[in-house]
Each structure stands twice: as C-alpha cells, then as structure tokens.
C-alpha cells in the first residue's frame, strides 16, 4: 500500500506528517483559487472569442466596402493608381500604440490607433481627376483599418489569454492530479509507517514480556526444584513471583500505550 503510488521522499516521522498535512491544505486552497482564476479567465476568453468571431465577420463587410470605394477611385481616376501610391508612401500616417489592460492579474495589451496628420503622402493624388474619390477612399480605408486594429487587439488578447489559461489550467491540473494525490499518498504512507512501527513496538514488547515470563518460569522451576530438593513441600512460593510479574506487566503496558 504505502509503496504503491507516488510519494514525497520523506522520513515517516510525526514531524513530516505535520508538514505534509499543512502542504495538503495549502495545495487545496491554491487549487480552488487557481480554479477560480482559470474560470474567470476562461469567461473572459470566451467573451473575446465571441467578439473575435463577430469582429472577423464585421471586418469582412468593412473590407468589402473599402474595396468597393477603391473601385470607385479606379472608375473616377480612369486608371491604375496602385503603383503611384506604393511609390509615394513614405511615412506612416496611421500608427498604433500599445497599452495594457489588467484582467485578473493578466496584462493584456490593447492596440490603439492614432494618426500623424503631418504625414500626408497622398494629398495630391488624383489632383487632376478623381481626387475627391481618392480622399473619400482614404477615409473609408482608415475606418476599415481602425476596425482591423480593434480586431488585432482582440486577437492579441486571445493569443495571450490562451497562453495564460493554458498555464493556469496546467497548474490546476498539476495540483489536482499530481500534488494533492501525492501529498495524500505521502500522508497515508507516513500513517501506515507509523502504524507499522506501533505494531512492531507492540509485538516487540509482547515478545519481551513472553521472554521474561518464560525466563521467570524457568527460573521459578529451577528454584522450585531447588526448594524441592531442600524442602519437598512448599508450593506457596509459586504465587509470590507471579504476583510480582503481574505488577511488572502492568508497568510494561503503561510504557507501551
């Protein structure tokens, strides 16, 4: 029994039994706390995944509108402006910064978009023709990119939460399935070892007592024989040592228990 299962390498002493008991208690508290944390995070996580799902769908629509506004530009400008745009891009007007949000002790970064208005690479694009469409298209795409940034925040939160939840769950499971059983095992082991020791002790004392008794009997017999040799009829002496032995036995029992 005590050999089966995993247990901590401790000496089965009363002191370590105490340690183990407090460890078990700690593990149980930790387990319930982590479990609650994991639940809170999972709740949040589910919320986020739901929002990601929604946002991804929304993105589909927003990007479609944006793509359509680009089609309008192509229509109005009457040609391809792609290359020119690519070449005149110099400084990002649209940028993001990152801030943190604390969710149940986990720092989730969130992107926040901002524009640097002084950077305007395309102010003159479509000057002769279609400029208004170009500007409108820029606005539409800016809005679309904002949606994308929002989605990216959610997604980053998702990735991080996913990681965190995995770690927390791993801990919960480790406590639940490894640490607690192992501590319990150890306690059981210590208990059984201590019981074993008790039984051994008991048995040993019993043996000692028996030996003593036997020795006494032998000694008595020898004495009786001696006496018999000297005085053939004297049986009252047998009771004397026995009464003494009973006293001795009581004393021994006190020691044991």
């Amino acid at each position: 029994m005590s050999g089966a299962g995993d247990r901590e390498p401790v000496f089965p002493t009363r002191q370590s039994l105490g340690t183990m008991k407090s460890k078990l208690k700690g593990a149980e508290t930790g387990h319930s706390l982590l479990k609650r944390k994991s639940e809170a995070l999972t709740k949040r996580f589910r919320e986020i995944t739901k929002r990601i799902d929604e946002a991804k769908r929304k993105m589909g629509r927003v990007m479609q509108i944006a793509a359509f506004s680009l089609a309008e530009v192509t229509y109005a400008v009457g040609g391809d402006i792609g290359y020119q745009i690519q070449e005149s891009a110099k400084n990002a007007r649209f940028r993001v910064r990152t801030k943190q949000e604390n969710v149940s002790g986990v720092f989730l970064p969130a992107f926040e978009s901002y524009t640097k208005d002084e950077n305007n690479d395309f102010g003159l694009t479509g000057l002769g023709k279609g400029g208004q469409q170009v500007q409108r298209c820029r606005e539409t795409y800016s809005r679309a990119v904002e949606t994308l940034v929002e989605l990216a925040s959610l997604q980053t939160a998702f990735v991080i939460l996913d990681e965190v939840i995995k770690v927390v769950n791993r801990r919960v499971n480790a406590i639940e399935h490894v640490i607690i059983p192992r501590t319990e095992n150890t306690i059981k082991y210590i208990n059984s070892e201590l019981d074993e020791l008790d039984r051994e002790e008991f048995y040993r004392l019993k043996k000692v007592k028996n030996n003593k008794q036997r020795d006494n009997e032998i000694a008595e017999k020898a004495e009786v024989e001696k006496k018999g040799k000297r005085q053939d009829s004297d049986k009252e002496n047998e009771d004397g040592p026995e009464a003494k032995d009973v006293l001795g036995e009581e004393e021994d029992q006190d020691v044991i228990f």
Binding site: Q64, T74, Q84, E87, L124, L127, G128, G131, Q132
Partner: protein
C-alpha cells in the same frame, strides 16, 4: 468648302469610326448587363460587342482583367485607324496619344526616382501612350540622366521645356509634374486645332475647341477642389490651370483665389453649365461625401465628377452630329473609355455584391 476634300484623306477613317460608334453599348445593353448575376454572365452579354477579346479570359475573370481585355479592343481599333490616317489626321491622332504618354512618363519618372527597375513598369503603361523611345526611358538610372538624354527624345519634350527642369522632377510632387505636363499638352493641342492651316476654321476646330475647353475647365475646377487642404500653394495651383477654356481668364483667376467650395462655385458661376452642376451638387462637396461615388454612404445624387463625365459624354455624342471632322475620333475614344469604365464598374458591383449602386454608369446612347 471643307467638306469637299475631307473625304479624300479622312473619309475612310471617319466611316470606320462611325461604324465603331455603332458598336458602342446602348442603354438596352447596359440594362441587360446590370441584370447579370455573375461575371460570366457579363462576359456573355459582352460577347457580341467584344467577341474574341474576351474569349481568352478564364471563367469568372477578375474585373481588372476584364478591363484589360476591353481596353485591348480599343487599342486594336485605335491602331487600325492610326494605320489608315494620313496628313493632319495622323498628327491629330498622335495628339490623342500624348495624354496617355504623360501618364506613362509620370509612372516611369516615379519609378526612376525610387530607383526601381523600370522595365517591369513598362507593362503597367497604358498601351495607347506607348511611344518608340519609351523602353529607352528605362535605361536612365537617375533623374538628371532621364531628363537630359531621354525625355528630350520623347514626343513630350516640348511640354517639359520651359516649365520643368530636372530639379523640378526631383523635388516636385509627381502629381504636379503630371498636371503641368497635361496643361502644356492641352494648350498645345488647343493651338494645334485652332492654328494649323488645314484644320483652322473647319468643323474639327469648332468641335475640338469645345471639347478641349471643357477638358481645360474641368481640370482647373478639379485641381482647385482637390488642392484644398494640401501643401499646394495658390501660386503653384494657378500655374496648373490651362490658359484657355470658357473659364479663362476671369474664372480661372477667381479659381486661383478660391479657398473653399463656395469660392469655386462663385468662380464658375459665369458659365451656365458649370453653375448648374454646382447647383445640382448643392454645396454638398463637404466631407460628408455627396453623390454616388462616396464610399459606402452613397445616395442617388451625382457627384461633380459624375456630372463632368456625363457632360463629356454628351459633348462626345454631339461630335458625331458633325461631318468631315477629326473630332469624331476623339469622341469615339472618349466614349469607348467611358464604356470600359462602365463595364468595369458594373462588373465590380456584381463581383462585390453591391447591386444597389450598379446603376451609376453613364450611358448616352
């Protein structure tokens, strides 16, 4: 009198172009197109008009490849006419291509400025703006070299001369370069149709003047509207206005001073057509986005650009009422371009499932 000898040289070409005009899509065709559910349907509807040109497209082609193929047809027909043209007509057709050349050159300049391999840009160039020395432009690796040894060999050299130095190419925004070139081109074209001894006083001069004046005004108005809120100063802006047109000189002067849309409206109020455009648009040129071209928030109203396109098409259509003139070629090219834009637009609407806006094409037949 001019009609007496026009047919000696230009009669065949004019006849061909009138034939081409009859193959332009009509309102009936367009309404069929708008009923289509897929691009394949569009392709099918277009097959009588475009036939072989669309045959090589894969099933459900992208809208851009559709536009490419329809442009191919325009180019092929243009080349055919160009091959037939002689005398002033040949020269006239060359002028037609200069506009596209400007776009191509602007593209190549952009490429050179950013030290790209300009060779891959050649396929992005508009085929109508192709000129023989264009591949040579790719040889140039820096702007100075490009300017001194290559650009002066192109037909556009006169447009660079006098108004743009090679430093300008380096420093100015490419859009300003492009618009300067375009202004010079329009003025040159205008001079050509009004001063060339064989064209002066013919219906060609009359019709083309109208078309070019309209084009010049349109550019001036657009440049003004689009330059609000950019680093383009009023002086620089004024330099981009073509120096002719119905707005010139009072209107353009007022345009050059305009600070906002109302100012533009005031500047053009001298010309009835443009005034009515502005009235239609109704001062809604603000950021809220008027007209059907506004991204996403479209309504039935027309934007100023739409009205200009519409007007251009009407002028082009009107050109066909005249006989013995080169202007029909110009008109045909413009109509065909609009048709390509319409097809692309309709295809785009179908591809992107934006059916409610599909009716925003411009059809004049």
């Amino acid at each position: 009198m001019e009609g007496l000898f026009y047919n000696v040289n230009g009669g065949y070409v004019e006849g061909v172009v009138r034939g081409y005009r009859n193959t332009l899509l009509t309102g009936q065709n367009y309404s069929n197109l708008t009923q289509c559910e897929t691009i394949d349907d569009v392709k099918l509807q277009l097959s009588p008009a475009y036939g072989d040109f669309l045959a090589s497209l894969p099933p459900n082609p992208s809208t851009s490849s559709l536009a490419d193929k329809t442009t191919d047809k325009l180019v092929a027909e243009f080349r055919y006419i160009q091959g037939q043209a002689t005398g002033t007509l040949a020269k006239f057709m060359e002028y037609l291509t200069y506009g596209y050349m400007i776009d191509n050159v602007a593209l190549l300049i952009t490429g050179t400025l950013h030290e790209r391999d300009t060779r891959e840009l050649l396929e992005r160039c508009h085929p109508l703006g192709w000129f023989e020395t264009m591949p040579v432009l790719c040889v140039a690796t820096n702007i100075e070299e490009l300017y001194n040894s290559v650009l002066i060999e192109t037909p556009l050299a006169p447009y660079f001369k006098g108004s743009l130095s090679h430093q300008d190419l380096d420093e100015l925004n490419i859009e300003i370069v492009r618009n300067t070139l375009y202004k010079n081109y329009l003025e040159d074209f205008y001079r050509f149709v009004n001063e060339h001894p064989e064209i002066r006083g013919t219906p060609t001069a009359e019709t083309m003047s109208e078309v070019l004046e309209f084009e010049a005004d349109r550019r001036a108005i657009n440049i003004t509207l689009n330059s609000f809120g950019t680093e383009l100063s009023k002086q620089d802006r004024k330099k981009l206005y073509p120096e002719f047109g119905r707005l010139y000189p009072e209107g353009t002067l007022m345009l050059s001073r305009a600070d906002d849309v109302e100012g533009v409206g005031l500047a053009v109020s001298g010309v009835h057509d443009y005034k009515s455009f502005f009235d239609t648009v109704g001062g809604g040129m603000n950021s809220s986005g008027p007209g059907n071209m506004s991204g996403g928030s479209g309504s039935d109203g027309k934007s100023l650009e739409d009205l200009f396109y519409q007007k251009e098409m009407e002028i082009s259509k009107g050109a066909f009422t005249r006989q013995f003139t080169h202007a029909v070629i110009y008109a045909w090219v413009k109509l065909r371009e609009q048709e390509i834009r319409n097809i692309t637009w309709i295809a785009e609407c179908i591809a992107q499932n934006q059916k409610e806006r599909i009716g925003n094409y411009i059809s004049v037949f």
